[in-house]
Each structure stands twice: as structure tokens, then as C-alpha cells.
Amino acid sequence: MFQRIKKAIIHSYRLGVKDLIVFARDRLRLITFVIMPIFLMIMTGYVFPNQNALKNAPLGVVNLDQGTLGAQIISAVDRPASGQNATLLKLTYLGSETEAEKEIKDQMINGAIVIPADFSAKIETGQQATVTSITDQSNPQISLLMSEALNRLMSAISTQMATEKVQTLVPGVADPSAVVDPFVVQTVGIIPGNPNYFEFMAPGIMAMVIMMAAMIGLAGSVSRERELGTLDGILSAPISRLSIIVGKSFAQGVRGLLQAALTLILAILLFGVVVHGNFGLLILLLILTVFSFIGIGIMISAIASEQETAMTIMMTVMFPMMFLSGAFFPIQQMPTALQWISKIIPLTYSVEALRKCIVLGTGISGMLTEVWVMLAFGVVFMAIAIPVFGRVTTR
């Protein structure tokens, strides 16, 4: 009995090493192995819209003001005060509101501000003036970012004007800004330094590359060997069926871990991500992630006899996981129904635990739920998948 287990382990190891050598000698696969995490980082980190990402957004300006205040505002928008992003907006001067609307419809500009003819007059006579901002709702993300940016700019200008006015109206006030804005909100983060979007993304990407290796890699590797015919060679050798699947899982697990490590190194070196948690715990979590996905991978490789079928099933399973797990988008943003679905996806727990460890520096006691859930996913799926695999290989 002991001898058989020892043999099975040795066979698994041999098959795993074989898979890794085959992988390492395939130049194309090796290149994708390195490039994929880089692409994912760049894509998710830069392409997803965030406040700082808005650059050179074309804004139409219609100045109908007969006084001088309108021109002052426009120049303040054009060259925002220090602290604001200097190249946030690119101004286009237009003659009328109708023209602005036409330009938006032609997608020449993303939005416009209209300063009415009585703007200066109203302010100078002590009335409240209005600036109209026209937004393009066909592109909600840009429209939102733009109106946020404009609001910030406008309220800054408005505050400045108010401060000046207070000073002239009530001479001798020590701090006129205290009159205009009696209090301000100060935001303090719990993480030292200046965390960026990549710190949110990196754990998600690491969990995802492991998921891909464990699921796509495993199922792909089994179905590829089935199609090539080499699987028959392994199956007709006197080895346990379990060794085959353990060996393959081992190889794909190592691959996934290496890729996750590569992601982390890139995140640290290129994107300034800082790991606040314990490195040992991080590695443990990554191994757990592999473990939680292997069962699903085995199951799909057992069911799908062709590589193409395996890939199709994979995509169907993986896309919802990617988007619902909170790897890219916060779960809190999702509708309640989707939040429930995200609770039955192993990736959710892996991403959550990794994020806690990397970004927040939480210890293992703070993520016991995630750890148990991942272990349970792994055990349950393997218990189902391994017998299925055994049966399918000797039909």
C-alpha cells in the first residue's frame, strides 16, 4: 500500500515535471506567460476610467457674457490653479448654445459650458448667476467625470470669488474662507503612503492568472494531450489515473504561482504597489487559490473531450467569475442579485483575501472565512471531479 502511494507520488512528479519542461520549451507559450500579466495590469490599471485618467477631454465653451467675469472664469478653467490637473480639458470656443449641442452630437466635444449674457451684470448687482453645463449622456463615464471635474473647478472659482467679496463687504475678517466654507472635510486613509488603482487591481489580477492556469491551463493541457494522442501513451502505462491528474495539477499550479509572482513583481517595480502584509501568508493564499480552482479545472477537462469544447466551457464559466468576483469592479457597486452570485464564486474569496493581505496588511485571523471557503471549494470540487475523470479516461 505504502509502496503504491510512493509510486503514485513519484509518477505524478515525473508527469508534472514533463509538463513544465514541455511548457518552458514552447517559446510562444512562454512569451504569453510573461506578457499576459503585463497586459492585464496596463489594461485594467490605465484603461478603466478614473479621475486622474481624464486627459485633454474636449470641452466646448460658449461665452455670451457682456461683462469681464465670464472671460475670467474661462481662463481659470483653461489654466486651473495648482493642484488641479493642467491638461484635464481642451477648450473649443463656440458662438452659441445650439452650436455647442450640434458639436456634442457630432462627437467633436464631450460637453460644453454656457455663460449667459447677464452673468457679470448679475454678480455685480449681488444676484446669483448661473452657468449651464451641457453633458453628453451617451457616454455616461466621461460625462460623469467631466461634470465632476467642472463642478470642482467651478466651485473653486466660486469660492474664490466669494472670499474676495466677503473681504470687501466685511473688512477686518481674519479668515474670509471660514465665512464662505465654515468647515471642510479632511479624508485620511488607513494605509500609509499614497495607494493607487493598481493596489486595488494587483490582487485581483494575481487571483485571476492563477484561476486561468488552474482552469484553462489544466483543461487545455489534458485535452491537448488527448488530441495529440500522447494521453493514450500515459494511460496505457501502468500508473494510477490519480497520478495523471495530480501531476498535471502540480504543473499548472506551479505555472499559476509563477505567473502570480511575476504579476506581483511587476506591480511592485512598475506600478509602485506596496505589499503591506506578510509574504508567507501571501504565498499561502496563492497556493490556496490554486487549490480552490483545481477541482473545477479537472471537472471541465474530464467533460470536454476536445480542446475547443474545453475552451468554450471555460469562457462561459470564467467571464462571469472575472466580472462578478470584485477583481475589477467593487462588489458594492453591483445590484443585490449579482452580489449574491458573487458570494458563490471562489474567485471572490481569493481576491478578497489577497487584497486584505497585500493592501491592508491583515493577518490570517482577519481572513479565516475566506480561507475556509476556499478550502471547502477545493475539497468539494475535487471530490466530484476526480472520480469523473477516472471514469472518463476508461470509457
Binding site: 509510486k7 509518477h11 508527469l15 520549451r25 494522442g229 502505462a237 501502468p238
Partner: protein, 335 residues
């Protein structure tokens, strides 16, 4: 001693029967040929014997071990050269052999000696450290055969071993197979190549549509086709047409009639005075006989005799002549 004993082996995939109650025995050191067109059930039978498929009915024993009860023992005693190469292209010849040696639980020393021995015998020793992906098909097949022999199996299973190889390599592999059988290795060979089956096999099983239709030595099989009251003749008829062929096929003396080449008929005859009856029938239809030859039957004739069909490889796109009209064949073949 029988190295392979197959009894009523049957495999169904849903409602399709791929192998239908197949039984045969192979003695130790024999080369047993499995001859039949593609899709006849050769590979399915072999996969069951190699424990890669579970039979629906019946069973078999390989090297004395039951394929259902002791699959691991069977695997230890069998070497498989399947239709698809069992080689990793990214590994070198030696690495491939080492891997499979280890999976077969051979001691390291024996693996080294085995690699040395088989690569030498297959004239591949200078390629041992090259990745097999860089090899030609023939070279790959040699390494593939070495891999199957490394753990000195009692039974070597060769599924279409020379398919797609050049004539030179084919000849070399044929010689090698004959050498192996001298060394008491039992060989189960599937092929759809008549010549390969005939020149290598001690015994041949003709398999068609999932069933074995005949098992015997090549000599005896051919004797069935031409002995006493049966014989094969070729008749060349200058004005051969569809009606003539049709009425010939209906004759009692004609077991089968097939137009093998334009204007040339191959007829399996039976019964007394068959030749004169056939000649008479052709003359009655106004046929102009140019030549008549008696034919030394080959396995093609044997297949025809047992199945009533010509054995042609479906994959080459050639169709049995009876399925096409004579007219079309004539117009397309300009001589």
C-alpha cells in the same frame, strides 16, 4: 501458449456497434495481422486490448492477464504504437524514452541501457539529444517504436505503423517487425495495406463492419478463393457496359464481378464449367472479349470473396466501383 485471447469482445457507442463479438487467439511470437478498411473496428479492438476502452461485452486476456480484472498487469506487458505518435515534440528522443521508462517503473540503469540498445537498433543513436519535434515522420515513428519496446513488453501492438511513411522507412520498419517476432515478441498489427498484412503476418483476421469475417494464414485464406471449384479471372471486354456487368453479377457462377480497371473485369467464379458459362454470357450480350487471364489471388481478392466488396481506403477518396456509374468513370479516365 496464447499471448492474446479474445472472446466475444464487443464495443457499442450508443446505438452504433464498433466491434461486434470478435474472438481470436494469438500465439507467442506470432505476428497477427488485423486487416480491414478504415472504420471496420480495428483500432477500437486494439484500444480495448490496451485497456484504453472498456468493452461493452466479452473480455480478453493479454499475456495471461484479464483486461478487465488486471488492467495494470496488462499495461505492464503491452507496448503500444498507436496511429497517433506518442511522443512529446518538445522533449528530446532520450527524454521521451526516459519518461516512459520511468512511468513503466524501470530502474534508471535499465532505462539507460534500453535507450542505448533500441536507438542503436533503429539507427537513431545520433539523434538522441535532439527534440523530436525537429524529426521527420519516419524518424519520429522509430523513436515511437523504441518507446513502446523500452519496457520489454511481451506484446507489441502496432496500429497502422507505416501509415504516411515513405517506402524506404516502411521497408525498414517491416524488417524490424520481422526481427522482433524472431525474438519471441508477439505482435498485433492492424493495417489496411494488403501487402503489409500479407508479407508480415503469420495469421490474418479480416475484419469488416465490426465483425471478423475470416481468420487464417495468408496462404489458407487465398486457397479459399481459388481451390477446386472457385477461381479468379480477369476478362477484358472491349465494349463493356452496365447491362453486361449487371447480368454477369446475377449469374450463379459468379461470386462477384468488379470492374477493376476500365474495360477490365475481375470475376470470382464458382461451380462447374464456370469459365465457359461466363464467356458465353458475355458473348450473348454482344461483348467482344479481348483477353482472359487466370489470376493468382491476393488478399484483396480474399476480402472481396468474404465481403462481396472491394476493400478500398475510404480516406483516399476512392470509392468501390459499383457505387459509381460506368459512364462517368470512362469519361473521366482518358488513357
Amino acid at each position: 501458449m496464447n499471448m492474446i485471447e479474445v472472446e466475444n469482445l464487443t464495443k457499442r457507442f450508443g446505438s452504433f456497434t464498433a466491434v461486434d463479438h470478435v474472438s481470436f487467439q494469438v500465439k507467442k511470437g506470432e505476428i497477427f495481422g488485423f486487416l480491414g478498411p478504415n472504420g471496420a473496428g480495428k483500432t477500437t479492438t486494439i484500444r480495448m486490448l490496451c485497456t484504453l476502452l472498456r468493452p461493452t461485452e466479452g473480455t480478453a486476456a493479454v499475456a495471461g492477464f484479464d483486461i478487465l480484472k488486471q488492467p495494470d498487469k496488462v499495461r505492464e506487458h503491452i507496448g503500444l504504437v498507436a496511429e497517433k505518435l506518442i511522443l512529446y515534440e518538445q522533449l528530446t528522443a532520450a527524454e521521451n524514452l526516459t519518461l516512459f521508462g520511468r512511468l513503466n517503473n524501470l530502474p534508471e540503469k535499465e532505462i539507460k541501457q534500453g535507450i542505448e540498445k533500441w536507438l542503436n537498433r533503429l539507427h537513431m543513436e545520433q539523434w538522441r539529444n535532439n527534440q523530436t519535434g525537429t524529426f521527420s515522420t519516419g524518424m519520429k515513428q522509430r523513436i515511437n517504436i523504441a518507446r513502446a519496446l523500452l519496457h520489454h513488453p511481451d506484446v507489441l501492438v502496432l496500429d497502422e505503423p507505416t501509415l504516411g511513411l515513405d517506402p524506404q522507412t516502411t521497408r525498414a520498419i517491416h524488417e524490424f517487425i520481422l526481427e522482433l517476432s524472431q525474438e519471441e515478441i508477439t505482435i498485433l498489427l492492424t493495417t489496411h495495406d494488403m501487402n503489409e498484412a500479407e508479407s508480415l503476418s503469420n495469421e490474418i483476421a479480416i475484419i469488416d463492419q465490426a465483425k471478423i469475417v475470416a481468420v487464417d494464414t495468408p496462404k489458407n485464406l487465398k486457397r479459399v478463393v481459388s481451390n477446386g471449384d472457385t477461381a479468379v479471372i480477369d476478362i477484358e471486354v472491349a465494349n463493356l457496359n452496365e447491362t453486361m456487368l449487371f447480368s454477369l453479377k446475377k449469374m450463379e457462377n459468379v461470386a462477384s464481378a468488379v470492374e477493376t480497371e476500365p474495360y477490365n473485369l475481375r470475376i470470382h467464379m464458382k461451380g462447374d464449367n464456370a469459365a465457359s458459362a461466363i464467356v458465353g454470357a458475355i458473348a450473348a450480350e454482344g461483348g467482344q472479349i479481348r483477353a482472359i487471364n487466370t489470376v493468382e489471388p491476393n488478399l484483396e481478392d480474399v476480402f472481396l470473396h468474404f465481403t462481396g466488396r472491394e476493400m478500398r481506403d475510404k480516406s483516399t477518396g476512392k470509392v468501390a466501383p459499383s457505387q459509381r456509374s460506368l459512364w462517368r468513370r470512362r469519361s473521366s479516365r482518358v488513357r
